[in-house]
Structures are given as C-alpha cells and as structure tokens.
C-alpha cells in the first residue's frame, strides 16, 4: 500500500462528504480537513499543508463553479499542489482550465459518478498526488467521438493510446490495457507527440501538452 496521504476535502453535500471521508480512510489516507465551502477550503489548505486537495466544482455561496475557482487559485499560488476536482458534469472546459495551471501535472478531473468505483477512485487519488494527470474517461470518450484537426492525423491506435494517457496511465499500464509491449506504446506516444507538433522536452510535460491539445480540440 502506498504512503498515507494528508488530504483536504471540500464538498458541500454532507452525505457525500462523509462518504468520501469513509472511502479515503478505507484506503489508508487521512482527511485532515473536510469543509463545505470554497473559502474554508482555501484557509484549510493554508493551515494544514496537505499532500492533496479534493474538491467539488459547484460550491456555496454561489453554487456555480466556486470550488473549481478556488482550486485554480490554489494551484496558481502553489503550482506543485496536487488537486483532484470532482464534477457532476462531463465538461471539457473545466478540465482544460485545470490542466492549464502549473505545468499540468498533479491535477485530476473526475466525474462524481466515478467515486463509486472505489478502487479506481483510490488509484486516481494516488496518481494525482504522485504528480500524475487524470482526465475522466467519460470526457475522453466524448472527445473521441468527434474527428477534428490536429487529432485527425492520429491513427485509431494512437487515439486509444492518447485516451489512456489522458486517464493518467503509465506506459506500462497502457501496454497492459492494449495487450502490446511497452516499447510499442513508447513508439505510439512518440508518433503522437510528433503529429501534435510537440518538440522534445521533459517527457511527462509533453504528455500533458498532448492531453491538453486533445482537450482543447
């Protein structure tokens, strides 16, 4: 089991807040603060210095996207703070804005529906805390349905690989999912980065840029 994470949780529904605390605790993490509005989230992060922030998009007082705004502000102040945003909506715009903060690593955008798959949810939490990037498969699926440039140049296999990259999977995990060798995955990713015109740089960063290109459409 990975190291226990110190987590600050923001969710206005008491029912879900308690449930999330239960799930995170069950997987050995410590919820150091569980709050119900965006302002308390900001002050809780200041006082607790957590390893990860998990927040809802829609929060009081305005019940629009205060939670997301707070998360973006937190990331602007501290680009290395891992943030996992839970949303009720499949929304490319939210995910794209989130990935634009920092260098796009250590962020996640998941549908709330996903919490029920507790093991996958726990994996996503750990991946984001470890500096990974996670975009909800539903958002990815929706994007795959349309064919637009620059993604038009990608082969179906390359799309599949990119979708799995967006979900935050490592090359090894992608190779297992597609039943190919890790070297083949590496080659696909190289092709994708080439076709999306992403010049060689630090490898993880380029993966995020590819996902971002994908999200922006």
């Amino acid at each position: 089991m990975p190291a226990a994470l110190k987590i600050v949780l923001a969710e206005d529904s008491v029912l879900l807040r308690e449930g999330l605390v239960g799930v995170l605790t069950r997987f050995g993490h410590e919820v150091v603060a569980a709050v119900g509005d965006a302002e308390s989230l900001t002050s809780a992060v200041e006082s607790c210095a957590p390893d990860l922030v998990v927040t809802d998009v829609r929060m009081p007082p305005g019940l629009t996207d205060e939670g997301l705004r707070a998360a973006l502000d937190l990331r602007a102040a501290n680009p290395s703070l891992p943030v996992l945003v839970l949303s009720q909506y499949v929304q490319r715009a939210y995910a794209a804005e989130l990935l634009d903060t920092g260098d796009g690593t250590g962020v996640g955008y998941l549908l709330k529906d996903r919490i029920g798959q507790v093991e996958q949810f726990a994996q996503a939490v750990e991946r984001v805390a470890a500096g990974g990037t996670v975009v909800d498969p539903e958002v990815v699926r929706q994007l795959l349905r349309r064919r637009r440039d620059p993604l038009a140049a990608l082969t179906p296999r390359e799309r599949e690989v990119l979708a799995l990259v967006a979900e935050g999977k490592s090359n090894g995990a992608i190779a297992r999912a597609l039943v190919v060798t890790e070297a083949a995955v590496g080659k696909h990713i190289g092709n994708i980065l080439g076709k999306l015109d992403l010049p060689p740089a630090q490898d993880t960063h380029r993966r995020v840029l590819a996902v971002l290109a994908y999200l922006r459409g």
């Binding site: 879900l16 009720q88 490319r92 029920g116």
Partner: protein, 413 residues
Amino acid sequence: MIRTVVRDVPRTVAYLLSGVLVGVVLMVVLLVLGTVGLVLTPLLVGLPLLALAVLSGGPVGALERRRLLLAAPGPALPDPHATPAEPGLAAWARLRLTERATWRELAYTGLLGFVLWPLDAAVLFGALGMPGALIGAPAQLAMTSAASGDARIAKLWLIDSYDQALLCTVLGVIVLLALLTPLVLYARARAALARLLLAPNEAEAERRLAEVTRSRARLVAAFEAERRRIERDLHDGAQQRLVALSMTLGLARLDAPPELADRLAAAHREADRVLGELRELIHGVHPQVLADYGLPDALADAADRSAVPVELDVDLPRFAESVESAAYFAVREALANIGRHSGAERAWVGGRYTGGRLRVEVRDDGTGGADPARGTGLTGLADRLAVLDGTLSVHSPAGGPTVLSLEIPCPQR
C-alpha cells in the same frame, strides 16, 4: 354604392334598433342611479352609487364595442383598459378611475342614454316609419273605411279613395328608396362616433402591446427559472444520494464474501447506469457550463455531444442569461435535427457578434427539405427568440444544404 347600401340595410336597422333599446334602458338606469345617488350623498351611501354610475361606462363600452360589429363587421375593437398590476377591488377601481378610456366611455354612455338613442329613433322613424305608413295606405284605408270612409296617413294626409291610397304607396316606395342611403350613412357616422370614444387610442394600443411583450418576456423568464430550479433540485437531491449509494455499494463490495460480491456488483452497475442517465437528463435541462463559461464553451460541449461531427467557429463575448440560453438551445435543437433527419456527414456552427447583434449559423451538408412549419421544435425556438426581438430563419431547399441562422440584437455583458 347602391348595392352595398342595400346589403347594409338589415344590419343598419338592427344596429340602430338595438341602440334605441340599449339607450332607453340606460336612460332609466342612469336617471335612477344619478338621482338616488345625489339624494343619498349626504348620507354617504350615495357616493358608491355615483361611483357605480361613473363605472357603468365600462360594461356599456364593452356591449357597444360588440354592437359595433353590426354596423361594421370585422375584428372586434380591442379593450382599451389596462390589466390591474395587482389583485383586489381597490387596485382595480383606482386603475379604472385614472384611465382616460374610462372617462371616454362614460361620456359615450351619457351621450347614448340622453342624446343618441332619441336621434336613432327619429332617424329610424323618418326613414322607415313614414314611408312604411305611406306604403301601407291601402291597408289602412281598408280597415278604417267601414267606420269613417277615410283614413289619415301618417297623421298628415287625409285620403278617401283607393286611387289616392295607391298613389301613397308609390310615393312611399320612392321615399323609402331615396332614404335608404342617408339611413346607412347616418348609421356609419353614428358608428364612427362610437368608435372614436370606445376604441383604444394610439397610446393605449401601444401600451397594450408593450404589456403583452412584457408579459411574454416574464413567461419566458419564469420558464428559465423553472428549468434552473429543476436542475438544482435534481443536482442537490437525487444525484448526490445516488453518488452516495454508489459509494456505499463500492465499499461494501470490497469487504463482501465472493457470493455476495457478485450481487452487489450487479446492483452497483445498475446504480451507475441510473447515475449516468440522470447526469444526461440534468445536462439537458440546463447545462452548468453555459452559466459558468458562456456560449463558446457551451456550444463546444453541444458539438462534442452531436452525433454528426461538428466544426466550430465561434468567437463571442458573454451576453445576458436569456440571450445565451436562447441561442444555446436553438443550436442544440438544430444539431439534434441534423443528427436525426438530415443524413448529413458534417455540420458547421459559426457565431459572431457585430454591430450589437449576435449572429449564429448552423449549416450541414445533408439532404435539405427541413420545414420549420412542421414539428414544434423550431417554432418553439422562434418564439423564444421573438421575445428577445430575435429572429430565426431556416433555409433548406430539397437536396440541401440546410442553413439555420438566428440573430438577436443585444448588448454584451
């Protein structure tokens, strides 16, 4: 001219005759109300009676507007009165007593009760009664000749032979024919006077139009608010509970013995399916991204969901909620139609804001032949745009392509 006059005679007579009847009744009522009211004013009981007399113009006006249809067929005159802004008798009476239409109607009522109906009666008698008596001279002579041997026609001419009586008849017919035109003309003049006093004047007509427009805008706003309320209720209630349920099931599966875990997994899958359906439903009612990010992102989202691949070229600022929502739902309906009926391979959505007007165009490469008159979807959208002074047009020749464009004049937010 002659023919229209002759055709108008029966209605003219009906108009004037019924006017006499109404006028007589009105005279009696007004006299009684006025006298009793004035006599009782020192006792204060009279004041309501006088107010009643003043307000009697209302129903009389309504009746007269209907009766006018006899003199001039066509659409009924609109009611010049405004609808009270608040319920209650006091508000109603206050509004009525301050309206100019009320006083015009009262003037007409007084005129009808004391001047117009005697005039109507005199004209009717002159134009129909007199010639009628002349025409009926032989009959009258036949009835009276047994007793006196002569007859006085219309209390004017004494006749004592059938030759004279026949002459009277001929004279009567000539006079009758000669007087028909003046009779009809009188009735028209009479109707014009009534119309002048009873029809809404221009300012009142404009105010009514503004009132109707406002009330329609209020309806649309109420409809939007209701959408949001439903979205919020589903989001804060059912959706959160389902997520919590799915979470509980997920945790339970972890610790359950294998035989139970299978059944829990089935329940879990079902809960997740319901959750997915509910999410789509809520999105359809009111997409949160529209409120948070505005049209470009909401349209991109609609494009993501479209069955037909959509190319998007949208560069727009933020607008009022009602504008964004009307434009968004119009595009979504258009994309849904393209997916369902057009047989198109691709679609394009373009949006620009120039010269204070929002213009959005949805184009496809389908087979065309879309008819906005059929099906309520597009008509409903056109109505929603109309409230904002916007327009929707569909150009869809058979063989395609179909272009739907909408335009809304609006300031940016």
